[in-house]
C-alpha cells in the first residue's frame, strides 16, 4: 500500500511518497499561507503525475502534518468565538492564575485572550466537586444564548463549566441546546477536549480548540474533496502533538491536539533514525530559522507531556502564553534559530536573541533588507555554511553582507571579526546545550550518554558545537534533513490519547471505581483507532497515571502494570514504579507518605512502520566538492577544509575532521576531533574523539 505524507511549514510544504514498489520519493513546494491546501494539492498532484504507474490511488493513504492550527492562533486568524462558563466565572481568561512570569519587569503583558470579555457568557448552573447539583441548569437561558450567538455572528463557541472534567452532564446539555438553537455554530465542550481538573488550563484549551475548529474543518474538507476528485478514496490521517496519527473527523473536531503536529512528526523521525543507527536513546535536535526544538528520546520513544504553552507574549518565556492541556511529545522550544539577532547589551557583553529577523527581513546575508547580524550571518562568516548551495543553490545569499553586519558588531565589542562570529555561534550553542541539560534533568537523564540526531536547516550546522559542550560523542545527521517531519509521518503509528481526572489514593484503592474508568478510556480509544482502519486485534493499549505524594503539587507519570495482576501485586508494582521513577528524577525517596493518582491516561495505538532510504538521491562519483577556509575554535584558527556532498559519499568510507558535508538544505559541520561515515540507510554518523 502506498503512502503519501505532507508537512505544511512556514516557508515550504514538504512531501514524501512511498510507492507501491516500496521506493521513497521526496518533494518540496513553496507554502501558500493564505490557503495552505493549495500547496498541498499542488504537491500531491505533481507527485501522483510523476509516479502515476507505481501508485494505486484506491489504496493510497495520505498523511498530514500541519501548521494551520498553530498559525491561526499565533496570527489570530481563527473564527469569531464565544465562551460559556459557569455563571460568576466569565473573567477566567483575564484573571488567569494571577502570577507573573518575570519578577523585575513591571511592564509584563499577556497575550490578549482569544475570546474577549464581551463575548463571554455565564451559564446559570453549578455542580460541586462531589457532583451535587447546587444549581440546576437554566435551559431557557441557554436557548436565549443560542439565539444571541446567531445574531452576533459568532461562528464557534467553547463551553467550559466547573467540575465538568468529572461531571459533564451540564456541558453536554448546553451543547445540545445550543446545537438546536444555533445549528450553524460549532460547539466545543471542555469534557470532550480535555476532561482534566484545573479550570483555567481546561478552559484555555477548550477556547483554543473552538477558535481553530472552523478553519481546520474547512481545511480538512477542502483536501478531502480535492483528493476524492483525484480518485483517492481513503480518509486522510493527521499527526497529533503526541506523535500518533488520527483520522480526519477527529482532527477536524479536536484541532487543538494538532498544534505541535510538525515538530511531533520530526521527533518520531528522529527516534527512528536513532534506531536505524543502532541507538536506543537519542537527543533529537531540530533547529530552523526562528526556533529550535530539543527532544529527549529514551528507549526509542519520545516521552509524552500532558501540557504545553503557546503564543507566548514574551518570546519563549515560560508562563507568558496560553496553557494547553493536551498530550504532546515532551520537547523544549528555544527561541533561537538562524534568524536570531546578535547585539551588545548594556553591560557591554554579547547577547544573541531574543529578537529575531525571522524570514523577513531575515539575516543580512539574504539581502532582503536585514542589516543586523544574525546567527546565520555568523555561520556564513565562519565558513560553516556555503553561499553557493543554499537550498540546493536555488536561493542567493551574500557573504559580503554577512561580513559587513558582523564587522559592525565586532567593532562595538572591540573584538575581531572571527572572534565575534565565533562568539555568536558559541553563545547559541551554549543556550541549546543549557536547554538540553535542563530538559534532560527534568526527565532524570544524563544527556552526555545520548547520541544526538540533528536536522532542520540549522541543526546540522550547530550540532557539533553543542555535542562538544554536552560531552556527547556521536551525532547522527539523517539524509533528507529538510523533510524530516514528512518522513516521520511515514513511520508514525495510528494512535489516540485519552484521559480522565479521578483522584484516588493507593491506600484507598477501589477497584469498583477504577474498572469503569479504564474501560471507558479503552472504549474511547478503540473507536478512534479502529476508525483509522486498524484491526482490533492489533490495537495496543497502554495505561499511564499521573501520581504524587499526597500533599505535593507536582505529578509524575507512571506506566501501569498489566491490569490482570491480582490487586495486591498490582498495587505493590504501581508503588514500586512510582518510587523508582521518583528516585530517578529527584535522587531520593520520601518516607512514610501516602501516594495518590490524579489523572488516568490511555494511549491506544496501531503499529509503527520502518523508515526507507529515499531513492531520489543518487550516489554520485564526486563526493569531494572543493575546499573553504573555515574557523575552528579548538584549532584557534581558520584552516583549509574539505567540502563533501552528503549524497555522493560511499557507505562506510571514513572522513576525517575537520570537514563540511553539504546537503540540499543544510550543511553538516564536523570539527577536527570528529570522524564521519555514511551508514547503509544514507545517514551520516559523526563520532567525536576526546
Amino acid at each position: 500500500m502506498a503512502k503519501l505524507a505532507f508537512d505544511t511549514g512556514g516557508t515550504f510544504t514538504d512531501f514524501a511518497l512511498l510507492d507501491d514498489a516500496g521506493d521513497l520519493h521526496l518533494h518540496k513546494v513553496l507554502s501558500t499561507p493564505l490557503n495552505p491546501a493549495d500547496a498541498v494539492v499542488q504537491g500531491v498532484s505533481e507527485l501522483l503525475e510523476r509516479y502515476e504507474s507505481s501508485v494505486d490511488r484506491e489504496t493510497l493513504q495520505i498523511l498530514g502534518a500541519t501548521t494551520v492550527v498553530t498559525n491561526s492562533v499565533l496570527e489570530r486568524r481563527g473564527a469569531q468565538t464565544a465562551l460559556v462558563t459557569t455563571e460568576g466565572f466569565q473573567d477566567i481568561l483575564r484573571i488567569r492564575n494571577e502570577g507573573r512570569y518575570d519578577l523585575y519587569d513591571l511592564k509584563i503583558q499577556y497575550p490578549e485572550p482569544l475570546v474577549s470579555r464581551a463575548e463571554t457568557y455565564g451559564a446559570p448552573e453549578r455542580i460541586t466537586a462531589e457532583g451535587v447539583v447546587m444549581k440546576a441548569l437554566d435551559e431557557e437561558a441557554i436557548r436565549d444564548l443560542g439565539r444571541t450567538l446567531n445574531e452576533t455572528g459568532i461562528k464557534s463557541v467553547a463551553v467550559s463549566l466547573l467540575h465538568a472534567y468529572k461531571y459533564p452532564d451540564h456541558e453536554r446539555r448546553v451543547r445540545d441546546l445550543l446545537s438546536e438553537t444555533a445549528p450553524d455554530v460549532y460547539v466545543t465542550i471542555s469534557s470532550d477536549v480535555c476532561p482534566e481538573v484545573r479550570e483555567f488550563d481546561r478552559t484555555s484549551t477548550t477556547v483554543a480548540n473552538a477558535y481553530t475548529r472552523p478553519l481546520m474543518e474547512k481545511h480538512v474538507d477542502e483536501l478531502a474533496h480535492a483528493f476524492c476528485e483525484r480518485g483517492i478514496e481513503r480518509d486522510m490521517l493527521w499527526m497529533t502533538s503526541s506523535g500518533g496519527l488520527v483520522p480526519s473527523p477527529r482532527a477536524a473536531k479536536l484541532p487543538v491536539r494538532l498544534i505541535e503536529s510538525g515538530p511531533a512528526a520530526g521527533a518520531v523521525a528522529a527516534a527512528e533514525f536513532g534506531r536505524i543507527a543502532g541507538e536506543t536513546s537519542v537527543l533529537s535536535f531540530d533547529m530552523g530559522g526562528t526556533t529550535a526544538k530539543l527532544c529527549l528520546i529514551p528507549n526509542g520513544e519520545p516521552t509524552i507531556a500532558s501540557e504545553l504553552e503557546v503564543a507566548h507574549y514574551h518570546r519563549f518565556r515560560k508562563g507568558s502564553g496560553f496553557p494547553l492541556k493536551i498530550q504532546s511529545i515532551h520537547m523544549i522550544e528555544i527561541g533561537a534559530g538562524g534568524g536570531s539577532i546578535a547585539a551588545k547589551n548594556p553591560l557591554g557583553l554579547l547577547n544573541v536573541g531574543p529578537r529575531s529577523a525571522g524570514a523577513l527581513p531575515g539575516p543580512a546575508a539574504y539581502g532582503r533588507g536585514g542589516t543586523e547580524p544574525t546567527v546565520t550571518d555568523a555561520d556564513i562568516v565562519l565558513g560553516y555554511m556555503g553561499t553557493g548551495n543554499f537550498v540546493g543553490g536555488s536561493f542567493k545569499v551574500s557573504k559580503d553582507a554577512a561580513i559587513a553586519a558582523i564587522d559592525k558588531l565586532a567593532a562595538e565589542l572591540g573584538v575581531t571579526r572571527e572572534r565575534c562570529a565565533w562568539g555568536i555561534h558559541d553563545l547559541v550553542n551554549e543556550a541549546m546545550a543549557k536547554a538540553a541539560a535542563m530538559h534532560a534533568t527534568d526527565l532524570g537523564v544524563d544527556p552526555r550518554a545520548l547520541p544526538m540526531v540533528a536536522f532542520g536547516g540549522a541543526g546540522p550546522v550547530h550540532a557539533y558545537g553543542i555535542a562538544r559542550k554536552l560531552g556527547i560523542n556521536r551525532i547522527i545527521c539523517p539524509t533528507g534533513a529538510g523533510v524530516t517531519s514528512a518522513l516521520g509521518l511515514m513511520i508514525a503509528p495510528v494512535a489516540v490519547d485519552v484521559s480522565a481526572s479521578r483522584p484516588m489514593r493507593l491506600d484507598a484503592w477501589d477497584s469498583a471505581t477504577v474498572k469503569p474508568i479504564l474501560d471507558d478510556l479503552a472504549a474511547q480509544g478503540r473507536d478512534v483507532v479502529a476508525a483509522a482502519g486498524v484491526a482490533s486485534q492489533s490495537i495496543e493499549y497502554r495505561y499511564t497515571v499521573d501520581m504524587r505524594h499526597v500533599g505535593q503539587g507536582h505529578e509524575i507519570s507512571v506506566t501501569l502494570p498489566a491490569l490482570d495482576l491480582p490487586q495486591a501485586e498490582f498495587l505493590a508494582e504501581v508503588e514500586r514504579r512510582f518510587y523508582a521513577h521518583y528516585i530517578e528524577l529527584f535522587g531520593r525517596k520520601v518516607e512514610n507518605s501516602s501516594i495518590e493518582i490524579i489523572t488516568w491516561r490511555m494511549r491506544a495505538s496501531g503499529t509503527k512502520s520502518e523508515a526507507q532510504r529515499p531513492v531520489t538521491e543518487v550516489v554520485g562519483p564526486k563526493a569531494l566538492k572543493g575546499h573553504r577556509t573555515i574557523y575552528f575554535d579548538s584549532l584557534g584558527a581558520s584552516v583549509e577544509t574539505p567540502i563533501y556532498d552528503h549524497y555522493a559519499l560511499a557507505v562506510d568510507a571514513p572522513i576525517a575532521g575537520p570537514a563540511i558535508i553539504e546537503q540540499r538544505e543544510s550543511s553538516i559541520v564536523m570539527g577536527p576531533e570528529g570522524t564521519a561515515h555514511v551508514d547503509a540507510k544514507g545517514n551520516l554518523i559523526i563520532d567525536i574523539e576526546e
Partner: protein, 554 residues
C-alpha cells in the same frame, strides 16, 4: 572534554560562564520546587536557591523568585552563618540551617540552609537555599500571636548534617514541634538535595574551566552589575524624595513614611516617621524591609541584569528601632508581608517625578489576600487549605495595570476545582469588579469579587489576611486612587482580618482592591475608553465622570 579557557576579560566567555552559574541555581530550584510538600513553596514559589562565593556574596540566583529573596540569603550568610561557623569549624558534608527571623527572612516558617562546597579540601563557595516549611508549630493563627514565642519553634544556626550524616537530635526536636512532621522532614530533605545539586554542578563547571576558585569570577560579575546600577542612579537628579502610605493594620491605622535620597551613584531610604511596632504579627524585620527596598529600586533601575550581590550594593536603608519596620527581636512577625509588600509602591510614589516612565501606580496585590479555610469533615478528620486572592496592578506609563495580579510577590493561585476537592467550600464567583481600577491615562488593573460558601455540616473557620479596606491604592503622576477592598459575611461588613466563622450555608465575600492609575485620566486615549466600555471594565457613568467622555458617546 578539553579544558575551556576562563578568560574573564573576554565579554563572550564571561557571558557563557555567567549564564552557566544561573543555570546551576535553576537546576537546584527545579529539584526543590517539584518535590516540596509545602503548598506555599510550589504555588507561591516561596523559596530560593543561591550560589554564594567563599565570602558569602551572592553569585547567582535562580531565575524564578520573589522579592524577599533578593538579599536575604547572602546577608544571612555574611552577617551570621560565616561568623558563627568559620571554615575551620566546618567539614565536608556539613549542612547549616536556622529559622531565626532575625537571621533569615523575618518569620519563623522560612528555613535558611547553607552547605559549604569544597575543592581540594578548601571551601571555595556555598550553596544556599531558603524555603517556607508547611508548618513550624506555634498558634495555628499566626497573625493573632503577640510575640515570637507564640509563633512557633525557633532553632539557631545548627549543623543539620555533620559530615554527611543527619543530626537526628535536632531533626527529632523539629519533628516533635510541628503539626506535619513528615512533610517538614520531606521539605528539609528537598533543600539538602537542592544544595547538593549546586555543589555537584559547580564543581563540574570549575573542572571544565580548570579553575580552583570562584571569587575572581564573582568579583568581575559583581563589579559589572554594580557599575550598571550606579550609572543608572547617576542619571537621576540628586535630592530627597518623600512619600507616605496609610494601611489598615489591625487597629489603629499604620502609617509608613519613606524619604528616598539619591546622592550621585547611591540611594538611601529612610523610613523615619513610620508607626511604632505593634502587638500583632505584622512587624517587619530589617532583612525583610531591606529586600523590598532593594527590589523596588532594582525594578526601576536595572530590571534586566540577573540578580547578584553587585546589583544591590548601591542601596541602603534604615528605620528607627522599635518601629514597625525595625521592631524589637521579641515581636511577632509572621504576617510581615501585610506591611512589607507595600514598600515598593511607596518607593515608586516617592520617585514619581524622578522616574515617571518607570514607576507604576500602587497595586491591589500589595499585599496578598489569603484565606486559610480550616474545619472538620464528617468523619472527624481535619481539613485546611489556603486560597489566595489579588487585587489589580497599578497603571503603567505605557499600558493599563494587569487585573488581579500578584505584586510585588509572585504567587499563583490554586485552581478553584483543586481547592474545592480538598475543602468543603463552594466558590460562587470569581469575577472582575468594573470601575475598581483607579482612573488614569493608563488605569489601574481591576480587583476581583470572590464569594466562598461553607458547604460542610460543621462550622468552617476562615483565617483571613487582607489589607487596603479603608484607604485605597494611590495613583502616580496624576493617576487616581483605585477602589478599596471589602470583606463581607452574609453581605454584612466584617472585620477584615483574623478568624471568621462560617456556619453551614454562610458565605464570605472578598473584594480585592483595584490598582492606582498612572497619569491624568483626561489624557486617556479615547479608543481605550471605548474598548473598556465594550468589555464592561468601566461603566458609562465612570466614562463621563472620570474620563470626561461626552455623555451621548458613553
Amino acid at each position: 572534554m578539553a579544558k575551556l579557557t576562563a578568560d574573564l576579560t573576554d565579554p563572550i566567555t564571561l557571558q557563557v560562564m555567567w549564564n552557566r552559574l544561573i543555570f546551576i541555581a535553576d537546576q537546584a530550584d527545579n529539584v526543590l520546587g517539584r518535590t516540596a510538600f509545602s503548598p506555599i513553596v510550589r504555588e507561591n514559589h516561596d523559596y530560593v536557591t543561591v550560589l554564594l562565593d567563599s565570602r558569602g556574596q551572592a553569585l547567582a540566583q535562580c531565575t524564578w523568585s520573589i522579592p524577599v529573596f533578593i538579599s536575604s540569603l547572602p546577608a544571612a550568610a555574611q552577617n551570621h552563618f560565616l561568623k558563627k561557623f568559620t571554615p575551620d569549624m566546618l567539614e565536608e558534608g556539613d549542612v547549616l540551617a536556622t529559622n531565626d527571623p532575625e537571621i533569615g527572612t523575618g518569620h519563623l516558617p522560612d528555613v535558611t540552609m547553607i552547605t559549604p562546597i569544597y575543592k581540594n579540601g578548601k571551601i571555595i563557595a556555598y550553596a544556599g537555599s531558603i524555603a517556607h516549611l508547611p508548618d513550624i508549630g506555634g498558634r495555628p493563627l499566626h497573625s493573632e500571636a503577640n510575640d515570637i514565642f507564640e509563633e512557633g519553634i525557633r532553632f539557631p544556626i545548627v549543623k543539620l548534617h555533620k559530615k554527611g550524616v543527619p543530626n537526628q537530635d535536632v531533626l527529632d526536636v523539629i519533628a516533635a514541634s510541628v503539626r506535619l512532621p513528615i512533610e517538614v522532614q520531606g521539605d528539609l530533605d528537598s533543600m539538602v538535595a537542592a544544595n547538593n545539586v549546586m555543589g555537584r554542578e559547580l564543581l563540574r563547571f570549575l573542572d571544565e574551566y580548570d579553575l580552583d576558585e570562584v571569587d575572581s569570577l564573582a568579583d568581575v560579575i559583581h563589579g559589572m552589575s554594580e557599575r550598571q546600577t550606579r550609572s543608572a542612579i547617576a542619571k537621576w537628579p540628586n535630592g530627597t524624595y518623600t512619600s507616605e502610605v496609610t494601611l489598615d493594620g489591625y487597629s489603629p491605622l499604620i502609617v509608613l513614611k519613606a524619604a528616598v535620597t539619591v546622592e550621585d551613584d547611591k540611594i538611601h531610604v529612610d523610613y523615619a516617621g513610620s508607626s511604632d511596632q505593634v502587638l500583632n504579627s505584622i512587624n517587619c524585620r530589617t532583612n525583610y524591609r531591606y529586600a523590598h527596598t532593594a527590589y523596588a529600586l532594582k525594578c526601576l533601575l536595572d530590571p534586566d541584569t540577573p540578580n547578584n550581590e553587585g546589583c544591590i550594593t548601591p542601596f541602603t536603608d534604615e528605620a528607627p528601632f522599635g518601629s514597625i519596620l525595625n521592631p524589637q527581636p521579641w515581636t511577632a512577625g509572621n504576617s510581615r508581608n501585610l506591611i512589607g509588600h507595600v514598600i515598593p509602591s511607596m518607593i515608586f510614589k516617592a520617585l514619581e517625578n524622578v522616574a515617571p516612565n518607570e514607576v507604576i501606580g500602587d497595586s491591589g496585590g500589595a499585599p496578598i489576600w489569603a484565606a486559610n479555610c480550616v474545619g472538620q469533615r464528617p468523619d472527624g478528620t481535619q481539613y485546611g487549605s489556603v486560597q489566595n486572592f489579588h487585587g489589580g496592578q497599578g497603571g503603567r506609563s505605557d499600558s493599563d495595570g494587569l487585573d488581579t495580579l500578584s505584586f510585588p510577590s509572585n504567587c499563583k493561585v490554586t485552581a478553584v476545582e483543586m481547592f474545592e476537592l480538598v475543602v468543603p467550600v463552594l466558590t460562587e464567583c470569581k469575577e472582575l469588579i468594573p470601575d475598581s481600577g483607579g482612573a488614569g491615562k493608563y488605569r489601574g488593573g481591576l480587583g476581583q469579587r470572590a464569594v466562598l460558601r461553607n458547604l460542610g455540616d460543621s462550622p468552617m473557620s476562615i483565617y483571613l489576611a487582607s489589607e487596603r479596606t479603608q484607604i485605597p491604592c494611590f495613583g502616580v503622576t496624576g493617576g487616581k486612587d483605585g477602589r478599596i477592598g471589602k470583606v463581607l459575611k452574609n453581605d454584612e461588613p466584617h472585620f477584615p482580618k483574623g478568624k471568621i466563622s462560617l456556619a453551614k450555608g454562610d458565605y464570605l465575600t472578598l473584594e480585592t482592591p483595584g490598582g492606582g492609575g498612572w497619569g491624568n485620566p483626561v489624557e486617556r486615549p479615547r479608543d481605550l475608553i471605548a474598548e473598556d466600555l465594550r468589555l464592561g471594565l468601566i461603566t458609562p457613568q465612570a466614562a463621563v465622570d472620570l474620563y470626561g467622555m461626552e455623555e451621548e458617546k458613553a
